[in-house]
Protein backbone atom coordinates (compact mmCIF):
# COMPACT_ATOMS: atom_id res chain seq x y z
CA UNK A 1 0.00 0.00 0.00
CA UNK A 2 1.62 3.24 -1.12
CA UNK A 3 0.21 5.81 1.27
CA UNK A 4 3.23 8.09 0.89
CA UNK A 5 2.68 8.76 -2.80
CA UNK A 6 -0.93 9.80 -2.30
CA UNK A 7 -0.06 12.43 0.31
CA UNK A 8 2.69 13.87 -1.86
CA UNK A 9 0.38 14.61 -4.82
CA UNK A 10 -1.61 17.34 -3.12
CA UNK A 11 -0.03 20.43 -4.67
CA UNK A 12 -3.21 21.17 -6.62
CA UNK A 13 -6.55 20.13 -5.12
CA UNK A 14 -7.53 17.20 -7.33
CA UNK A 15 -10.86 17.35 -9.16
CA UNK A 16 -11.08 13.66 -8.34
CA UNK A 17 -9.19 12.51 -5.27
CA UNK A 18 -6.46 9.93 -5.80
CA UNK A 19 -7.79 6.41 -6.37
CA UNK A 20 -6.38 5.04 -3.15
CA UNK A 21 -7.52 6.03 0.31
CA UNK A 22 -5.01 7.61 2.64
CA UNK A 23 -4.81 6.58 6.28
CA UNK A 24 -7.14 9.36 7.47
CA UNK A 25 -9.74 8.50 4.83
CA UNK A 26 -9.66 4.82 5.79
CA UNK A 27 -10.45 5.83 9.35
CA UNK A 28 -12.95 8.58 8.48
CA UNK A 29 -14.97 6.30 6.20
CA UNK A 30 -14.37 3.01 8.02
CA UNK A 31 -18.05 2.62 9.00
CA UNK A 32 -19.01 2.97 5.35
CA UNK A 33 -16.24 0.76 4.00
CA UNK A 34 -17.13 -2.19 6.25
CA UNK A 35 -20.72 -2.21 4.98
CA UNK A 36 -21.12 -4.92 2.31
CA UNK A 37 -23.26 -2.52 0.23
CA UNK A 38 -20.60 0.20 0.21
CA UNK A 39 -16.96 -0.84 0.59
CA UNK A 40 -14.12 1.15 -0.89
CA UNK A 41 -15.90 1.12 -4.25
CA UNK A 42 -19.05 2.75 -2.87
CA UNK A 43 -17.08 5.27 -0.87
CA UNK A 44 -15.27 6.20 -4.06
CA UNK A 45 -18.68 6.81 -5.71
CA UNK A 46 -19.54 9.19 -2.88
CA UNK A 47 -16.21 11.01 -3.20
CA UNK A 48 -16.80 11.32 -6.95
CA UNK A 49 -20.41 12.50 -6.38
CA UNK A 50 -21.59 16.03 -7.16
CA UNK A 51 -24.71 17.17 -5.33
CA UNK A 52 -26.49 20.52 -5.53
CA UNK A 53 -28.46 21.55 -2.45
CA UNK A 54 -30.97 24.29 -3.18
CA UNK A 55 -31.57 26.02 0.14
CA UNK A 56 -29.27 26.27 3.16
CA UNK A 57 -32.04 26.55 5.73
CA UNK A 58 -33.87 24.01 7.85
CA UNK A 59 -33.76 21.18 5.32
CA UNK A 60 -30.40 22.19 3.91
CA UNK A 61 -28.72 22.11 7.31
CA UNK A 62 -28.80 18.34 7.91
CA UNK A 63 -28.21 17.76 4.21
CA UNK A 64 -25.01 19.79 4.17
CA UNK A 65 -23.74 18.18 7.37
CA UNK A 66 -24.57 14.55 6.55
CA UNK A 67 -23.48 14.70 2.92
CA UNK A 68 -20.20 16.39 3.85
CA UNK A 69 -19.65 13.89 6.65
CA UNK A 70 -20.33 11.01 4.24
CA UNK A 71 -17.64 12.30 1.91
CA UNK A 72 -19.74 13.50 -1.02
CA UNK A 73 -16.89 15.08 -2.95
CA UNK A 74 -18.55 18.15 -4.38
CA UNK A 75 -21.40 20.06 -2.75
CA UNK A 76 -23.02 23.06 -4.40
CA UNK A 77 -25.10 25.14 -1.98
CA UNK A 78 -27.57 27.72 -3.29
CA UNK A 79 -29.11 30.34 -1.02
CA UNK A 80 -29.50 34.08 -1.50
CA UNK A 81 -30.45 34.85 2.10
CA UNK A 82 -28.38 35.91 5.06
CA UNK A 83 -28.61 34.21 8.44
CA UNK A 84 -31.22 35.75 10.74
CA UNK A 85 -31.73 35.17 14.43
CA UNK A 86 -35.16 33.62 13.73
CA UNK A 87 -33.48 30.94 11.57
CA UNK A 88 -31.42 29.48 14.39
CA UNK A 89 -34.36 27.67 16.02
CA UNK A 90 -34.11 25.00 13.26
CA UNK A 91 -31.27 25.77 10.80
CA UNK A 92 -28.58 23.99 12.75
CA UNK A 93 -25.73 24.53 10.28
CA UNK A 94 -25.65 28.22 11.26
CA UNK A 95 -24.50 29.69 14.56
CA UNK A 96 -25.39 32.82 16.48
CA UNK A 97 -22.17 34.51 15.39
CA UNK A 98 -23.15 33.90 11.73
CA UNK A 99 -26.17 36.24 11.87
CA UNK A 100 -25.86 38.61 8.92
CA UNK A 101 -23.57 36.35 6.87
CA UNK A 102 -24.63 34.70 3.61
CA UNK A 103 -26.22 31.31 4.37
CA UNK A 104 -24.55 29.66 1.37
CA UNK A 105 -21.11 30.79 2.58
CA UNK A 106 -21.71 29.68 6.16
CA UNK A 107 -22.97 26.26 5.05
CA UNK A 108 -20.07 25.76 2.63
CA UNK A 109 -17.63 26.63 5.39
CA UNK A 110 -19.31 24.18 7.77
CA UNK A 111 -19.00 21.43 5.14
CA UNK A 112 -15.27 22.09 4.64
CA UNK A 113 -14.60 22.24 8.37
CA UNK A 114 -16.39 18.96 8.90
CA UNK A 115 -14.59 17.18 6.07
CA UNK A 116 -11.60 18.55 4.14
CA UNK A 117 -12.27 16.00 1.37
CA UNK A 118 -15.33 18.04 0.36
CA UNK A 119 -15.14 20.78 -2.24
CA UNK A 120 -18.03 23.06 -1.22
CA UNK A 121 -19.21 25.65 -3.71
CA UNK A 122 -21.47 28.42 -2.36
CA UNK A 123 -23.93 30.20 -4.67
CA UNK A 124 -25.14 33.22 -2.69
CA UNK A 125 -27.72 34.06 -5.29
CA UNK A 126 -31.28 33.22 -6.22
CA UNK A 127 -31.90 30.45 -8.68
CA UNK A 128 -33.65 32.04 -11.68
CA UNK A 129 -34.73 31.02 -15.16
CA UNK A 130 -31.49 32.62 -16.38
CA UNK A 131 -29.02 30.64 -14.27
CA UNK A 132 -30.89 27.45 -13.23
CA UNK A 133 -29.86 25.20 -16.13
CA UNK A 134 -26.25 26.35 -16.01
CA UNK A 135 -25.90 25.75 -12.27
CA UNK A 136 -27.75 22.42 -12.20
CA UNK A 137 -25.98 20.97 -15.26
CA UNK A 138 -22.76 20.52 -13.29
CA UNK A 139 -24.26 18.14 -10.72
CA UNK A 140 -25.33 14.48 -10.58
CA UNK A 141 -28.14 14.86 -8.05
CA UNK A 142 -30.19 17.91 -7.05
CA UNK A 143 -31.90 18.44 -3.70
CA UNK A 144 -34.88 20.71 -3.26
CA UNK A 145 -34.41 22.11 0.23
CA UNK A 146 -36.12 25.39 -0.62
CA UNK A 147 -38.98 27.06 1.20
CA UNK A 148 -40.90 28.69 -1.62
CA UNK A 149 -42.99 27.70 -4.62
CA UNK A 150 -41.21 29.74 -7.32
CA UNK A 151 -37.93 27.97 -6.54
CA UNK A 152 -39.63 24.58 -6.15
CA UNK A 153 -41.26 24.73 -9.60
CA UNK A 154 -38.13 26.17 -11.21
CA UNK A 155 -35.88 23.45 -9.77
CA UNK A 156 -38.37 20.74 -10.74
CA UNK A 157 -38.68 22.01 -14.32
CA UNK A 158 -34.92 22.43 -14.73
CA UNK A 159 -34.24 18.90 -13.41
CA UNK A 160 -36.80 17.39 -15.80
CA UNK A 161 -35.32 19.35 -18.71
CA UNK A 162 -31.79 18.18 -17.81
CA UNK A 163 -32.76 14.62 -16.81
CA UNK A 164 -31.36 14.98 -13.27
CA UNK A 165 -32.74 13.10 -10.27
CA UNK A 166 -34.35 15.49 -7.77
CA UNK A 167 -34.70 14.73 -4.08
CA UNK A 168 -37.68 16.75 -2.90
CA UNK A 169 -38.53 17.74 0.65
CA UNK A 170 -40.91 20.21 2.25
CA UNK A 171 -41.97 21.07 5.79
CA UNK A 172 -44.86 23.02 7.25
CA UNK A 173 -45.80 23.34 10.93
CA UNK A 174 -45.61 19.70 12.12
CA UNK A 175 -45.87 18.02 8.72
CA UNK A 176 -43.28 17.05 6.16
CA UNK A 177 -43.09 15.45 2.73
CA UNK A 178 -40.25 13.80 0.91
CA UNK A 179 -39.87 12.02 -2.42
CA UNK A 180 -37.43 11.33 -5.24
CA UNK A 181 -38.32 12.51 -8.72
CA UNK A 182 -36.29 10.18 -10.91
CA UNK A 183 -36.14 10.93 -14.65
CA UNK A 184 -39.08 9.26 -16.39
CA UNK A 185 -40.79 8.29 -13.13
CA UNK A 186 -42.81 11.42 -12.44
CA UNK A 187 -42.05 14.88 -11.14
CA UNK A 188 -43.37 17.49 -8.73
CA UNK A 189 -45.80 18.75 -11.37
CA UNK A 190 -47.25 15.26 -11.84
CA UNK A 191 -48.44 15.67 -8.24
CA UNK A 192 -49.04 19.42 -8.23
CA UNK A 193 -49.35 20.57 -11.87
CA UNK A 194 -49.41 24.34 -11.25
CA UNK A 195 -48.22 26.69 -8.54
CA UNK A 196 -50.96 27.83 -6.16
CA UNK A 197 -52.40 31.30 -6.70
CA UNK A 198 -50.66 34.06 -4.77
CA UNK A 199 -52.44 34.58 -1.45
CA UNK A 200 -53.76 31.00 -1.32
CA UNK A 201 -51.04 29.85 1.02
CA UNK A 202 -49.97 31.24 4.37
CA UNK A 203 -46.74 33.16 4.17
CA UNK A 204 -43.52 31.47 5.22
CA UNK A 205 -43.08 33.65 8.27
CA UNK A 206 -46.65 33.02 9.45
CA UNK A 207 -46.44 29.31 8.82
CA UNK A 208 -44.20 28.24 11.65
CA UNK A 209 -42.35 24.96 11.90
CA UNK A 210 -41.29 22.79 14.81
CA UNK A 211 -37.49 23.00 15.03
CA UNK A 212 -36.64 19.32 14.72
CA UNK A 213 -39.04 18.65 11.81
CA UNK A 214 -36.71 19.85 9.02
CA UNK A 215 -34.07 17.69 10.69
CA UNK A 216 -36.26 14.60 10.15
CA UNK A 217 -37.14 15.39 6.55
CA UNK A 218 -33.72 16.76 5.54
CA UNK A 219 -32.04 13.69 6.97
CA UNK A 220 -34.33 11.39 4.95
CA UNK A 221 -33.39 13.47 1.89
CA UNK A 222 -29.71 12.91 2.71
CA UNK A 223 -30.35 9.15 2.91
CA UNK A 224 -31.95 9.21 -0.54
CA UNK A 225 -29.05 11.19 -2.04
CA UNK A 226 -26.52 8.70 -0.67
CA UNK A 227 -28.52 5.73 -2.02
CA UNK A 228 -28.75 7.35 -5.45
CA UNK A 229 -24.98 7.97 -5.53
CA UNK A 230 -24.31 4.41 -4.33
CA UNK A 231 -26.92 2.84 -6.61
CA UNK A 232 -28.15 0.76 -3.67
CA UNK A 233 -31.55 0.05 -2.15
CA UNK A 234 -34.93 1.40 -3.22
CA UNK A 235 -35.34 5.15 -3.32
CA UNK A 236 -38.59 7.08 -2.85
CA UNK A 237 -38.99 7.32 -6.65
CA UNK A 238 -42.73 6.88 -7.33
CA UNK A 239 -43.58 7.28 -3.65
CA UNK A 240 -44.41 10.42 -1.70
CA UNK A 241 -43.64 9.90 1.97
CA UNK A 242 -45.66 12.13 4.30
CA UNK A 243 -44.69 12.61 7.93
CA UNK A 244 -47.13 13.77 10.59
CA UNK A 245 -44.88 15.01 13.35
CA UNK A 246 -47.63 15.58 15.91
CA UNK A 247 -48.74 11.94 15.86
CA UNK A 248 -45.38 10.59 14.66
CA UNK A 249 -46.87 8.75 11.70
CA UNK A 250 -45.54 8.12 8.22
CA UNK A 251 -47.90 7.60 5.29
CA UNK A 252 -47.02 6.74 1.74
CA UNK A 253 -48.68 7.72 -1.50
CA UNK A 254 -47.70 6.01 -4.75
CA UNK A 255 -47.63 7.95 -7.99
CA UNK A 256 -46.61 7.42 -11.58
CA UNK A 257 -45.56 9.81 -14.33
CA UNK A 258 -48.59 11.72 -15.60
CA UNK A 259 -48.66 11.68 -19.43
CA UNK A 260 -50.48 15.04 -19.22
CA UNK A 261 -47.85 16.60 -16.92
CA UNK A 262 -46.99 20.11 -18.17
CA UNK A 263 -43.24 19.42 -17.98
CA UNK A 264 -42.52 15.65 -18.01
CA UNK A 265 -45.67 14.58 -19.91
CA UNK A 266 -45.94 13.40 -23.49
CA UNK A 267 -46.73 16.86 -24.87
CA UNK A 268 -45.10 19.26 -22.40
CA UNK A 269 -46.09 22.94 -22.39
CA UNK A 270 -43.09 23.89 -20.25
CA UNK A 271 -39.99 23.51 -22.41
CA UNK A 272 -37.67 26.01 -20.71
CA UNK A 273 -37.24 27.34 -17.17
CA UNK A 274 -39.83 29.89 -16.07
CA UNK A 275 -39.73 32.43 -13.24
CA UNK A 276 -42.85 32.36 -11.12
CA UNK A 277 -44.10 35.23 -9.04
CA UNK A 278 -42.98 35.23 -5.44
CA UNK A 279 -45.89 33.85 -3.45
CA UNK A 280 -44.73 34.22 0.10
CA UNK A 281 -46.76 37.32 0.99
CA UNK A 282 -44.85 38.56 4.01
CA UNK A 283 -41.46 37.59 2.64
CA UNK A 284 -42.18 39.48 -0.55
CA UNK A 285 -43.28 42.55 1.37
CA UNK A 286 -40.18 42.39 3.54
CA UNK A 287 -37.91 42.38 0.50
CA UNK A 288 -39.76 45.40 -0.89
CA UNK A 289 -41.77 43.76 -3.65
Amino acid sequence: MDKKSSTRQQATPPERPARTFDEDQMQRYSRHIVLPEIGGIGQRSLLDGKVLIVGAGGLGSPLVLYLAAAGVGRLGIVDSDVVELSNLQRQVVHRTADVGRAKAEVAAEAARLLNPDVVAMPYAERLTSANALGVIAGYDVVVDASDNFPTRYLVNDACVLLGKPLVYGAVYRFDGQVSVFAPGQGCYRCLFPRPPEPGMIPSCAEGGVLGALPGVIGTIQAMEVLKILLGKGQTLAGRLLAFDGLSTEFRELSYVRDPDCPVCGDRPSVTEPIDYEAFCGLGAAATGR
Binding site: M1, S30, V34, G39
Partner: protein
Amino acid sequence: MDLTGEVCPMTFVKTKLALEGMAPGQVLRVILDFAEAVESVPRSARNEGHRVLGVVQTEDNQWTVLIRRG
Protein backbone atom coordinates in the same frame (compact mmCIF):
# COMPACT_ATOMS: atom_id res chain seq x y z
CA MET B 1 -0.22 -7.38 4.25
CA ASP B 2 1.10 -6.54 7.68
CA LEU B 3 -1.69 -5.35 9.97
CA THR B 4 0.20 -5.71 13.23
CA GLY B 5 -0.63 -2.79 15.49
CA GLU B 6 -4.06 -2.37 13.87
CA VAL B 7 -7.28 -2.98 15.82
CA CYS B 8 -10.93 -3.42 14.79
CA PRO B 9 -12.47 -2.14 12.65
CA MET B 10 -9.35 -0.98 10.78
CA THR B 11 -8.14 -4.57 10.49
CA PHE B 12 -11.13 -5.42 8.33
CA VAL B 13 -11.24 -2.03 6.58
CA LYS B 14 -7.72 -2.53 5.27
CA THR B 15 -8.28 -6.19 4.47
CA LYS B 16 -11.43 -5.35 2.53
CA LEU B 17 -9.80 -2.53 0.57
CA ALA B 18 -6.89 -4.82 -0.34
CA LEU B 19 -9.29 -7.56 -1.50
CA GLU B 20 -11.25 -5.06 -3.61
CA GLY B 21 -8.05 -4.21 -5.43
CA MET B 22 -7.33 -7.84 -6.33
CA ALA B 23 -8.64 -10.10 -9.07
CA PRO B 24 -11.03 -12.95 -8.12
CA GLY B 25 -9.05 -16.04 -7.21
CA GLN B 26 -5.99 -14.16 -5.95
CA VAL B 27 -4.90 -14.86 -2.39
CA LEU B 28 -4.29 -12.19 0.26
CA ARG B 29 -2.02 -12.91 3.21
CA VAL B 30 -2.83 -10.85 6.29
CA ILE B 31 -0.69 -10.70 9.43
CA LEU B 32 -2.57 -9.75 12.60
CA ASP B 33 -1.65 -9.29 16.26
CA PHE B 34 -5.05 -8.14 17.53
CA ALA B 35 -6.64 -11.28 18.97
CA GLU B 36 -10.28 -10.30 18.32
CA ALA B 37 -9.52 -9.66 14.67
CA VAL B 38 -8.34 -13.23 14.23
CA GLU B 39 -12.01 -14.22 14.55
CA SER B 40 -13.71 -11.17 13.11
CA VAL B 41 -11.65 -10.62 9.96
CA PRO B 42 -12.22 -14.16 8.58
CA ARG B 43 -15.90 -13.99 9.54
CA SER B 44 -16.41 -10.64 7.78
CA ALA B 45 -14.44 -11.83 4.75
CA ARG B 46 -16.67 -14.91 4.46
CA ASN B 47 -19.78 -12.70 4.79
CA GLU B 48 -18.65 -10.79 1.74
CA GLY B 49 -18.18 -13.89 -0.35
CA HIS B 50 -14.45 -14.48 0.05
CA ARG B 51 -12.93 -17.84 0.96
CA VAL B 52 -10.80 -18.14 4.08
CA LEU B 53 -8.08 -20.67 3.27
CA GLY B 54 -6.54 -20.82 6.71
CA VAL B 55 -5.62 -19.13 9.98
CA VAL B 56 -2.20 -19.96 11.43
CA GLN B 57 -0.69 -18.77 14.70
CA THR B 58 2.89 -17.85 13.82
CA GLU B 59 4.04 -16.38 17.13
CA ASP B 60 2.81 -15.96 20.68
CA ASN B 61 0.66 -13.06 19.67
CA GLN B 62 0.67 -13.13 15.89
CA TRP B 63 -1.49 -14.82 13.29
CA THR B 64 -1.49 -15.17 9.52
CA VAL B 65 -4.80 -15.35 7.68
CA LEU B 66 -5.02 -16.45 4.06
CA ILE B 67 -8.06 -15.20 2.10
CA ARG B 68 -8.90 -16.00 -1.50
CA ARG B 69 -10.70 -13.16 -3.27
CA GLY B 70 -14.28 -14.22 -4.12
